[in-house]
Subunit: 356 residues, 2 copies
């Protein structure tokens, strides 16, 4: 259930899209996505675009869609940032709904393929009256789990705030709603956002019988493809500074790199913040051997899945490679990790106690 | 797929239990589990025992079974430690097997209940000729996924090394083998041990078509029950010093505690190392506010499941409480984590960019 917090789009949630209670009264304008500096956008526009993942209407002519199009100055358009003069606070509150609320379940789909879902996730979707999610993941759902739903509401990347609010409004209006995402709802994902928005609306988690159905996180999906890189103490860290300041991310990397953690890096690279990836590599190389094994998994369980095992010294060169983008998870070994027969192995420590 | 590395047992893997190739030639004596110091064992024996989880024969009379019974001096019996004079190196090598090897798949079952398994895990088990695992988890498998297996080999807690070797021997002898465990095979679990033992036998991962089927890790199962505590950068750390020296664990805790990580603590407490839990609490309290929310989940998805939300200042008192033992995962919030409506919420950071 990785959040789609890096591409850029403007979503207009109109009444005609809304199937529930009070939300037909809203006119949501959510300018989302990270801001491109003018210079970065100009540079990017000379490169082949593989970043535009927004289905929403776009008024920018750049080949790299910034999608913050409601603003005439795209370089100032932050993801719904409060500095945006045309921002509108979206949302009904619990008082706008009559009757008893329905249920709200955040369902983790795992790596994305139907085979990666748990039986519990399938059952939760089969029982849901409304299914809400990012279009790419909703499209991957098998028919047998969506056939029973009265309505499916999907929006493109970057709409996680308005989409989550839509799910909550539908639940407050009395519907049993499942909001879905890849991976696990607790890993850089929507479980927290759902609770925060629910609270802001004056609702309670108990009133909607809020529940989280866990899924296989990306780190574990990728670890499985690499062998056994994550069998000891592990850190997961996201390099997206969209929601966490880069100085905090750097501080975390400095703290963990000298210790015996394996590191799962989420959101490693996007055109808008290629320097975060370089900075991460520099920090890790300050503390770890350049020969430390590194596993890279792109698009786990998707058609464009690709896996590479390399080393930390080589990693900085790979920022611009196709295998490293926002669907990639990178696993950096600890001081004991080794590569054997094309597998990455982090010893758990048994070899210190057993002969085998 | 948490490893069962804390209880204590001696397993004698006899020829009559073995269903495959060369393993009838072995006489494995695996003295496993952590050593109890004499004083600790004496202290423990005055308390009600809830630690004995070993089905193997035991010659100790202590109410806390140390199960390292092959040694006359239980206090010196380490988990197969090389100092043990009666240790026998177990295991056939690849040369002891004729014909083509079968497959070896490490399957993560998730939290333990059948509903927590992925479809892919079920399919892998249904296709397996032999299923190998810890008795508790094997017993939880639904009939429809085990009915197709020619043989099921399960052993009690603490037998992970001999059990994994048995699985590998069976695969090398030509059988398609699934070795199972709860959670994910990459999280303190057997994927790495399987590769290490396979290597020691002169086999290769490619020859047995080694594969890992990921599952929902305990941290995510527990996070789901607590709400949304793990939606930002997170560390998982095990307090078991059976395979990692305590000074390394302490160093890791000191490194991460001042940073903005949430922390998932595995293997938090056992009678043999209650002081690790206390030391962990002390270190966290050196760096974090005593009011930091802490979630405790005992036996997720099992009959004795219990959940508690408390704070870091209270945590040290809970080491001796029933809710904290080896089936417990503890989630320590970061500086932003709060409790709302009985849920633990770690903001992802959206509130800094959006109004809702």
């Amino acid at each position: 259930m990785s959040t789609d917090n890096t591409a850029e789009t403007t979503e207009a949630s109109t009444g005609s899209e809304s199937k529930c209670g009070a939300s037909e009264a809203r006119s949501a304008s959510e300018a989302s996505g990270e801001a491109a500096s003018s210079s970065t956008a100009a540079q990017a526009s000379t490169e082949p675009s593989n970043e535009s993942k927004c289905g929403a209407s776009t008024t920018e002519t750049s080949t790299e869609s910034t999608c913050g199009a409601a603003s005439s100055d795209a370089s100032a358009s932050k993801c719904g940032a409060s500095s945006s003069s045309d921002e509108q606070e979206v949302g009904a509150t619990v008082d706008d709904f009559e009757g008893d609320p329905g249920r709200l379940i955040a369902v983790g789909l795992g790596p994305g393929e139907p085979e990666g879902m748990t039986a519990r996730a399938k059952a939760a979707l089969a029982d849901a009256e409304h299914i809400v999610g990012y279009t790419t993941y909703v499209d991957l759902l098998p028919d047998d789990v969506t056939d029973g739903a009265d309505d499916i509401y999907s929006t493109p990347m970057c709409g996680e705030v308005s989409r989550t609010e839509e799910a909550i409004d539908r639940a407050l209006a009395g519907n049993d709603v499942a909001i879905v995402g890849s991976g696990d709802p607790n890993v850089y994902a929507l479980a927290g956002l759902a609770l925060e928005i629910l609270e802001s609306k004056g609702g309670t988690a108990s009133a909607v019988d809020f529940e989280v159905v866990p899924g296989v996180p990306a780190a574990q999906s990728c670890g499985a493809r690499l062998g056994a890189p994550l069998v000891n103490d592990t850190v997961s860290v996201s390099l997206s500074d969209h929601l966490t300041p880069m100085d905090e991310i750097e501080s975390r990397l400095h703290a963990i790199a000298p210790e015996g953690f394996t590191i799962a890096i989420y959101n490693p690279w996007s055109r808008k913040r290629r320097e975060n990836f370089q900075r991460c590599c520099e920090i890790l190389l300050e503390h770890r051997d350049p020969e430390t094994p590194v596993g890279i998994v792109h698009g786990a369980s998707r058609d464009d899945e690709a896996t590479m095992i390399t080393d930390l010294g080589t990693l900085p060169e790979l920022g611009e490679a196709d295998i490293v983008d926002m669907t990639t998870t990178i696993v950096v070994g600890n001081g004991e990790t080794y590569v054997w027969d094309d597998r990455m192995v982090t010893p758990r420590g048994y070899e210190t106690k057993y002969d085998y």
